[in-house]
Symmetry: C2
Subunit: 250 residues, 2 copies
């Protein structure tokens, strides 16, 4: 990796930049939000803010680190273009729609680091965000390309594992998306019961409140992009809670 390009310098993008620069890699960054790009530069997560075109032209590794919808749009716009990059990856929490959008995009591998934080933006970035974490990727069918992706993931301190896009989306609905939805609703009720609620919060309630501080707009987008799985698994969880309440007796 000579030059790394990061499209979207939020929490994930800036954390990748911090880690890569720590190892001596030169990092170029672009963000549609100029403030986010400037903050990433000020925080040392990138060496330079550049135009999108120059980033795709000059970097051998490019990471698209935007929310799911913007990721799909970015990939659609790259279709049919001759890749100047050796490997292009995304980091979105949903994989099926991303893989579909990437049809005809050269040297692309879809991926998803199982890491994050309730914080957002470059201010919340940490060079060790991926240390010891799992990082899923959807094998591209090109073993040399996949090997380059795995080398990048390894550089981030994470453990790469291959997954099927549809199965990924089902599993993260269960392990992440539905828990996030339920946590948001449970936390809302905790805050409703009165100003003294914090006195009654043990570790579990504090984790619920932490999760509920995650950026709501980003999560709304993730839930919407994984709507079928989230609806199915969310409905099943709600039904099992109702059944358990009925079994409790009176």
């Amino acid at each position: 990796m000579r030059v790394l390009g990061i499209v979207g310098t939020g929490l994930i993008g800036a954390s990748i930049g911090l880690r890569a620069r720590h190892d001596g890699t030169r990092v170029l960054g672009f963000d549609a939000d100029e403030n986010a790009a400037a903050a990433a530069l000020a925080l040392g997560a990138i060496d330079e803010t550049v135009e999108r075109e120059r980033l795709y032209r000059e970097c051998d590794v490019v990471v698209i680190a935007t929310p799911p919808r913007a990721t799909c749009e970015e990939l659609t716009a790259l279709r049919g273009r001759a890749p100047a990059w050796d490997v292009l990856l995304d980091v979105a929490s949903v994989k099926r729609v991303v893989v579909e959008s990437a049809t005809g995009v050269g040297n692309f591998v879809a991926s998803h680091p199982l890491a994050g934080s309730e914080g957002s933006g470059p201010q919340a970035a940490r060079a060790d965000l991926f240390a010891g974490r799992r990082w899923a990727y959807v094998p591209s069918g090109d073993e040399k390309l996949d090997a380059r992706l795995r080398a990048f993931i390894s550089r981030m301190g994470a453990d790469a594992f291959p997954c099927d896009g549809a199965r990924h989306d089902r599993i993260v609905a269960v392990t992440s998306h539905v828990p996030q939805l339920a946590a948001r609703l449970a936390a809302r009720r905790i805050r409703e019961i009165g100003d003294d609620y914090e006195q009654y919060c043990g570790p579990a309630a504090r984790e619920l409140l932490r999760l509920s501080r995650s950026p709501q707009a980003l999560w709304d987008e993730i839930l919407a992009e994984n709507v079928l799985e989230v609806k199915a698994e969310g409905t099943a969880l709600a039904q099992s809670i109702l059944a358990a309440c009925r079994r409790l007796g009176n």
Copy 2:
């Protein structure tokens, strides 16, 4: 506090014993399960295992640290007895049924430390389990008695706060009991999706799995003793999840 008596030397009772002995207080312990009492003794959480009668006769502070149902039975058996103790307290997660059972029990104050762990038994005890935690109590109406309880809570490293029993039970249904129920069901589904589920678990899923490892029999009892609040709040959470899933569209 000259001599502390602990009835029930599980996670909470043994943690209280460890902390008290650390400060030089002599601690007598009783547990209906002789193995639990012996383990607490071996772990240094109590100085001596004694018969129940001797414990109530010789200790100036007595803690009933059994599950909710056994706590109510213990208190019922103490009704009308002339107290040899200066203060008697319980630590159960529900307060209304405990306060009712304690009618006619001398020098008693109902209380609940907002602390715990997914572990159980004296093996999981820690002297610092209550450090910096909140510890609720239902004022007895006897200010001198309440002051002795607050002094004890302070010795445990926790912050005492007064609460109403009915309001306590409603709030912990929201902050603790319903989250525990939902976590158990969500964790069951996570384990169902396949042997590879752990690869997909971020911090939120790991917290769910941790909560689901809490002792199920104890939790079944807590849920049953707070059944009205848990049913109402659990049903409301399930309905809000269903409504959110409907709003997600297709």
